[in-house]
């Protein structure tokens, strides 16, 4: 995104990449996992085909085929990026880049000179201290997304987005899944009500959830691995490490140039410039949230800054957060608890999908839209959605917040009927005490 925007702005661009262009998201993260989750969703639909009066006979789900499909999706998207690079005359330099000076990058024996450098090395899965990821027994999301084998049992360590998404996929394909979370709640960055309901749903699907658990050791043994915790021993064929990701900042040449760091990430200005003039950093390596869409927004800012434009800085308070388990989770802004903690007088409106005609027709009534707003002004402080297509519904709130619309303008926006977005509309009405359908 940064490279393409730079090229569009008339700059001459070289991109250095030791993998395929597209980054973690396209190759190993967002895109291929969404393909796997779609498989899980289709499987789920087929299994309840009888609800729709459709008999399908014996259902056989081939996990290896799901992974192959997922790789195909990633390949296709990577080709798209390669095409865009060609179209924008971006020189793709394969290999690992190393910053030599603020204007020179070493790639193997080659040296590339440039007026400005954008660092976008991304991140990699973290592990627990003393636990090595071998991608056989102890795997990371990198291994999970490409392994065609589906373990009979899996322990997921970490209850964030990556953890719950893989738990969903493997459970759909019949694995015994246990999630061990260190914090009190499942998906702990989300609103508490979302966490609670997802935990109930996952529990109902046979996923074992243990939260507030401290892992002390992981050893080989039993059917594969044994996880020792303060809540007892857990055994499974594989362990998925989903305890977070760390910035890839080693061997980039940061230390030699004295590029300032902050909590393991590169420190950047609102123009995405590092402490060294002419060197920019974007994406996961430039700090939380570690999300592709945040990285893309940063890429555009950096490109425009380099091209001499005056870019509008990224609004980090307005980045939607999306998790693609079933039901999906999407949120923006602060949780209800956080809003209360901030001392604002708030009003909360909630609308369950059971009240949405479209959701009932789809047969996907689980979840709700919850809107947290400032009582005095109607400012939308936070929105939390659990349910069908939550990740699509969230955007009206993102747009509204960008434009600083208040509930009053939002509720005077006609929402098409019947749509899932009506639940969003209804939740806003509820926040104003004007709900019609609930």
């Amino acid at each position: 995104m940064a490279a393409i925007r730079c090229a569009q702005l008339g700059l001459s661009v070289a991109a250095v990449e030791d993998d395929r262009p597209g980054g973690v998201c396209l190759n190993w993260g967002c895109i291929p996992t969404k393909a796997l989750l779609r498989n899980a969703e289709v499987l789920h639909l087929v299994e309840r085909a009888a609800d729709f009066g459709i008999s399908v006979g014996e259902v056989r789900a081939d996990y290896a085929a799901a992974v192959k499909r997922s790789r195909g999706v990633a390949d296709r998207m990577a080709k798209g990026v390669e095409f865009l690079f060609r179209k924008n005359k971006i020189t793709l330099v394969p290999g690992r880049g190393m910053l030599k000076t603020p204007t020179t990058v070493l790639v193997g024996a080659h040296t590339i000179e440039a007026r400005a450098v954008i660092l976008a090395t991304g991140s990699e899965p973290k592990s627990l201290p003393g636990v090595a990821i071998d991608e056989q027994v102890v795997i990371s999301s990198n291994g999970a997304v490409r392994q065609e084998r589906r373990p009979a049992s899996l322990i997921v360590i970490g209850a964030g987005a990556v953890g719950v998404e893989f738990a969903d996929v493997y459970r759909a394909y019949g694995a015994e899944v246990t999630i061990l979370g260190a914090l009190r709640l499942l998906v702990p960055i989300e609103d508490e009500e979302v966490s609670a309901q997802l935990a109930r749903t996952f529990g109902g699907r046979g996923i074992t959830i243990k939260t507030g658990v401290k892992v002390s050791a992981i050893t080989r043994g039993g059917s594969g691995a044994v996880v020792e915790t303060d809540a007892g021993r857990f055994e499974a064929e594989q362990v998925l490490m989903a305890v977070g990701r760390g910035a890839k900042v080693k061997d980039v040449g940061l230390e030699a140039l004295g590029i300032a760091m902050e909590r393991g990430f590169v420190r950047v200005s609102p123009r995405m410039e590092t402490s060294v003039k002419g060197v920019y950093a974007i994406g996961d390596m430039a700090g939380a949230p570690l999300l592709a869409h945040k990285a893309m927004a940063e890429g555009v800012v950096a490109a425009e800054a380099i091209a001499g434009r005056d870019p509008r800085p990224v609004d980090y308070g307005n980045v939607p957060s999306c998790t693609y388990c079933r039901p999906q989770i999407a949120s923006i802004g602060v949780s209800e608890a956080k809003a209360r903690e901030n001392g604002r007088e708030i009003t909360v409106g909630k609308s369950p999908f059971t009240a949405s005609g479209k959701a009932v027709a789809l047969g996907e009534t689980e979840g709700f839209v919850k809107v947290v707003a400032d009582t005095a002004t109607g400012e939308i402080l936070g929105v939390h959605i659990l349910g069908p297509e939550a990740t699509e519904i969230i955007h009206e709130f993102a747009v509204g917040r960008t434009l600083e619309a208040t509930l009053e303008e939002m509720i005077h926006t006609i929402h098409a009927h019947p749509t899932l977005s009506e639940a969003a509309f209804e939740a806003m009405l509820a926040a104003l005490g004007q709900a019609i359908h609930i």
């Binding site: 509008r312 009582t375 005095a376 002004t377 109607g378 400012e379 434009l403 600083e404 619309a405 208040t406 509930l407 009053e408 303008e409 509720i411 009405l429 104003l432 005490g433 004007q434 709900a435 019609i436």
Partner: protein, 404 residues
């Protein structure tokens, strides 16, 4: 029967929101057109809001103490049997107002328009949230610079303004020995500060001055004020009356530059500047051309008193065709004033002073008053302003004509 929407009136050119100080009628009260419904606080003054429709005040949407944007629905007047469900459902969730109960939605009945004509004014580009925060924190959006796309005022601009020195409570006491202190702008001072350059810079002013012999006018005034049971007449009343007559005779001065045309008025609505602690305000004495000196005296006094008490009505705050600023009480020889657009001229009135006057071959004591008219050169030329001023002078020097 028609249903009348009660909306927050635009009580001054600059007004964007108004705060209901109190409702003088309550829900269920019968209303006649012209009844005073409520008192509204604007950026300039507290004004009384009149009812435009007749019926029963069925609903109040914005309770006392709350603020609503200009043009927003604040109440409904209708006959008791009238169906106003549509209006109730469509009521704005006014700023922090409790939500209206939500009956099944209906199309609003066609309503007779009772919205007083807005007097125009430039639109302020601001986000909805910025507007609400501004209304609640008392920040005037017109005096702040927007940092959003295209200069749009966004939340951070209003918050900065609210926290900034201009709008905050008076800054901490001046340090001992300091050579200055920063006095925060009052709302009124901020508006004056913003508006005056909009007059002085774009309106090409020219000035014409003349001395008026006030001997006879002063004698006349003394005689009138000696009468039992008559209202007191001020020098300014005489000037207002003289200007009203002269304006009818010189419509070119009683005119406004409208870009493509010059609007010439056939009535004399005269703005009379009233000095207040925190600035000044120019209430309008309407139809001066049709009023006797006594009427002018009574009404001008009432206007000035209510201006000081911030009790002016909407109609009294705008619509002047000409203005008068009188600093006579301050022993001022002469001064010139800045035109208040869209008016075409303003007359500055000095003190009546005793001066040596050459009368034949003798020097006697005479009473003189300096008049300086500031004119918009786009509307008129020097000769026109001079002729008008000559006429005002003649009227004041032969003051019996002011009585007939």
């Amino acid at each position: 029967m028609a249903v009348s929407k009660v909306v927050m009136p635009k009580l001054s050119e600059a007004m964007e929101t108004g705060k209901i100080i109190k409702w003088l009628k309550k829900e269920g009260d019968r209303i006649q057109g012209g009844d005073i419904l409520a008192e509204v606080e604007t950026d300039k003054a507290d004004v009384e809001m009149e009812a435009f429709g007749a019926g029963v005040l069925r609903k109040i949407f914005v309770p006392a103490g709350e603020t609503a944007p200009v043009g927003s629905l604040i109440g409904v007047i209708a006959e008791p049997n009238e169906d106003i469900a549509g209006l109730l459902a469509g009521a704005p969730a006014a700023v922090a107002a409790p939500a209206a109960p939500g009956p099944e939605s209906r199309r609003p009945e066609p309503v007779a328009s009772v919205v007083p004509a807005a007097t125009g004014g430039g639109r302020v580009k601001a986000s909805p949230l910025a507007k609400k925060i501004a209304a609640q924190s008392g920040v005037d959006l017109r005096v702040i610079q927007g940092s959003g796309p295209g200069g749009r005022i966004v939340r951070r601009d209003v918050e900065a303004a609210a926290a900034g020195p201009v709008w905050s409570a008076p800054a901490a006491a001046t340090a001992p020995g300091s050579e200055y202190e920063d006095v925060p702008l009052s709302q009124m001072r901020a508006i004056i500060a913003k508006r005056m350059p909009l007059s002085k810079a774009p309106v090409p002013h020219f000035y014409v001055a003349s001395d008026v012999a006030m001997d006879r006018a002063s004698d006349l005034r003394e005689a009138l004020n000696a009468l039992e049971g008559q209202p007191k007449i001020s020098v300014n009343d005489l000037v207002v009356r003289a200007c009203a007559l002269a304006l009818l005779a010189h419509p070119g001065v009683n005119a406004s530059f409208q870009g493509e045309a010059i609007r010439v008025f056939h009535v004399a609505h005269i703005g009379i500047a009233v000095a207040l602690e925190e600035g000044l305000i120019t209430p309008v004495l309407r139809d001066c051309h049709a009023k006797s000196l006594t009427q002018i005296a009574v009404e001008a006094r009432d206007l000035a008193e209510r201006a000081r008490a911030r009790k002016l009505r909407a109609s009294e705050l705008s619509g002047a065709t000409f203005s008068i600023s009188n600093l006579g009480m301050f022993d001022v020889a002469a001064f010139s004033a800045i035109i208040n657009p869209p008016e075409g001229a303003i007359l500055a009135v000095g003190s009546v002073r005793k001066v040596p006057v050459v009368d034949g071959d003798a020097v006697t004591v005479g009473r003189r008053m300096a008049l300086t008219i500031s004119c918009d050169h786009r509307v008129m030329d020097g000769a026109m302003g001079a002729r008008f001023l000559q006429d005002v002078k003649r009227l004041l020097e032969a003051p019996l004509r002011l009585l007939v």
